[in-house]
Symmetry: D2
């Protein structure tokens, strides 16, 4: 496996050139565009890595997997999906139009920004600090990484520049689809986006979901089997922003990307994959990550469809 991963990393070493490092959060713009890493955590044979799999980067939207899992565990499927939909959206991740045009003004799914914010507002902790700790704890257990930290500089940068997310949150508030204090919920959102991970963490995150919620390293049943399945399904249909449909055809694995350049993928019953490369395509998905996952999926026949 390690040899295969190294071959793929090498062969995809120029893919980053088609992308650009995200700059809308200024602190993210400092990433090294040509870095890349690829990790696998196989449920049968354990971990393997190639490339730069130890460099830390922020989870960004990959963290939405953790908050969605937490919401499903604590509130149940019915309550979560009465607040957000399950529909893929052919709009950018931060779009507000469809919130207004489509009654009942409910975010289309929990993995776009408005949906993730709505999910956070649902969580049964009223204090923002406790809410964030619960999300961090879920993420830590999914990745067997107890000392999960946030990147303070990125967090402050997100908080300072996250005005589109403020618009989304206030819109949700105005139509009665957001409980609690808007700025406090956004603070949790900005914090969870700033959680620091690396490629191997994201491989284990995928592996835990692939294993029905049971972390293969710690042995802990972090989520129920049903929660893990729902999360994998939503990742499959909505995980790669408006590129989700294309990703299903080209790669065919449930996955979630983040603008930090990370992607976590879950091959049901088989393995988790973490891919990283900070240069993003126009939809916000890691250019190198997409290329490496495509190669890996083809080589190992991982498509679920």
């Amino acid at each position: 496996m390690k040899t295969l991963l190294e071959k793929i990393v090498r062969e995809c070493s120029n893919e980053w050139k088609s992308g650009r490092v995200a700059t809308y959060i200024p602190e993210l713009g400092k990433g090294r565009a040509d870095a890349s890493g690829l990790s696998v955590y196989s449920l049968s044979s354990g971990p393997a890595s190639a490339g730069d799999t130890g460099s830390p980067f922020t989870m960004q939207s990959v963290s939405k997997v953790a908050s969605l899992a937490l919401a499903l565990e604590t509130l149940g499927e019915e309550k979560v999906f009465s607040a957000v939909g399950m529909a893929a959206l052919a709009d950018p991740f931060n779009s507000i139009m469809r919130l207004e045009s489509d009654a009942p003004h409910r975010p289309h799914n929990p993995l776009i920004n408005s949906g993730a914010i709505a999910v956070l507002s649902l969580l049964p902790w009223t204090d923002g600090g406790e809410k964030f700790e619960a999300v961090r704890d879920m993420a830590a257990r999914l990745m067997a990484k107890p000392g999960l930290e946030i990147d303070e500089a990125v967090y402050l940068s997100e908080k300072e520049t996250g005005n589109r997310n403020r618009a989304l949150a206030w819109f949700l508030k105005s139509v009665g689809n957001l409980e609690g204090d808007v700025e406090e919920i956004l603070d949790v959102y900005f914090r969870q986006c700033s959680l620091l991970t690396d490629c191997t963490d994201l491989a284990l995150l995928g592996a835990t979901l692939a294993a029905g919620g049971r972390n293969p390293v710690t042995g802990e049943q972090v989520t129920s089997c049903g929660t893990a399945r729902i999360v994998r399904t939503i990742m499959a249909t909505c995980g790669m922003y408006d590129g989700s449909g294309e990703f299903a055809v080209s790669v065919g694995i449930p996955a979630k990307s983040g603008v930090g350049g990370g992607i976590s993928a879950a091959v049901p019953g088989k393995m988790g994959i973490g891919a990283w490369g900070p240069a993003l395509d126009k939809r916000g998905n890691s250019a190198a990550g997409l290329a490496m996952l495509k190669r890996l999926s083809e080589e190992l026949g991982l498509r679920i469809y």
Copy 2:
């Protein structure tokens, strides 16, 4: 004139039944639905009134006329209309969709909520308090009403529930079309919407605009002739929300309405009209006000088209 106004008020006394008092700002919901008043300030023959023209109500969107006039006077036409457009919009006054769908994400005109907020952000006072005082002063001079007060209960109610306006403002901020502190600008907006006027005030406001910016009571040249003309034109095309086109056909006079139930109309070179009735049609325009203005326009042949 007074006899005519009394006849019109009497004949339109049931028109309020087709409308409903605004309740989205809870404090507004307390208005007496069946009240109505009609005032004229003729540039040749002075004031005349009928009905309940002394009861105070909040200006709401009618105040956007004052802030637009102030912006044009202090910044000039070019600067104002590089920040907001001049196009009528077939959407509700608080719509956010078109801000996202239409590049350059500029409010379509200065009389919808997003446009009025953008205009406030432009005004050359950085302190919110000073900015509000400048708007209040402009409104006071247009209406010859030095002691213009705000309704504190309405103001607090707007501030507490104005979340859609917060979404609009943060969206503008996120696309670089809003300078300054968002909540401070919104505070100015909520305050100006809460300014207390009556029917006779709105008639004089219209008369000052009709007279090319010269207040016929005080004799003060409040705005330049060009500013008054631009304001009248924007009122004609955009002043009645998404009912502006229909109003042009049925009434045919530049006018601006507010959800407090007031309408101020300016017949160029002839007169100003103030109409009031708290029950609103589905677009947010005073039901009785529309009916009375239509009758008055027909009786006196006031259409400009």
Copy 3:
């Protein structure tokens, strides 16, 4: 007057450079981009012209004024405006989106393409040929031009390439807002767009509307006074496509433009104006025409607002 018009034509002789001749109808693309003409028909002092006012061009959307007038005369205001709205639209003239998004799927106004097609479908002649003759007759009487001809080459070009209009018409048909045979109605539409006029014709068209429907040359009362007023009003709010609001501020006269480069304007009670220049701005309005009308409006103080 003639001296003034000549000065304006001369001073605006480079304005065409900011525009482009329409090419979406291939036959239109053959127009000479730098031609321009300006005609006035004053209700007090008769005609005056400058520039190239005798060259023929096709009416295109200016013809919608004639079909709207005909519909109002034969069907009445109520029937016409139950089929189309009166709202200006901040979308291009051939847009279909809002037809779907806004119930009741009614064209927003009679001067955008979908609205003009809907108006044609209403006309009380079932045969397409008769329908066209009725529109041509109305146009001929408004312009005192009995031998009004169509440009066969432009007509065939429109018919061959008018697929967006076919989409609009079939959409209207699918939502029950179009009576009759779609291709037959479109044929009337393509024919009326191809009617050949010149600058002096459009000046007289405007003059007839400005005179309350009475043609000042023939003395015929072509439409009722009320119809002329409604047409002028709709021209003022919707006549210049999505540039109508800006035109109201910069020129301030009811007017209708066509992609053939012509504009007909009606100054109520005063005069009609015909302006022509084939190079169009990005909204489809004649670049030279806009500039000349702005100058003329300023020089003569023609603004209605």
Copy 4:
């Protein structure tokens, strides 16, 4: 298996009550609302059926699976997906808005109406009759049903009332995304929608796709393995109209529905399923079909996610 299917049909016998038989194609409205059938074609154990699996109904949108497969086989993936996208759409199946709002005005996927029409226009037969025969032949081979007929009454009804599809096709034509004669392509579309199948046919259709394109009854390799996989993937993300995301969570199998009440599902490597019930939910999917597929997926653990 047969016992299980009978139990499911019985337990879901009231599900049709939440739906309504399609009436927008008048001929469809004649269907018996409470009929239902469920068929399985297992790649290991062959066919099994319960309920009314022999009654004929029209394929409607299920036929898009055949035309997509044909296009992929004859033109290749690249060419097909340069004409249509792969993105799920949160709009109704006949929506036109997004075609205009989203450049490059390409249908979002091949399973919505506009996308299916665009795919038909691509097929390398210029004559409409030959084009239809090619689609019919592909459908017949996928279902091992040589004598595949169309329901003439439904076909004529579709042809007469398919005006929204005409609007979609003309729009595509107007933006250069449709080759050939519009009405001729639509005729192919209306014909393929009118192909008569039953539940067992749709089970075999799914089974052939599930078996990588090899029909398990005839043994013919109808499509390449890659084509079958792409079709299954697009079915998974886009097959159930705007209910695709919800279907992925609740059922979790690639499937395509039609307004005739049929659904064909393909469980990769395992089986095909045909479900039928004419009463549709508000998105156009068979109410009984959804319920039966959910039960079957749960009982047999068929989810792919």
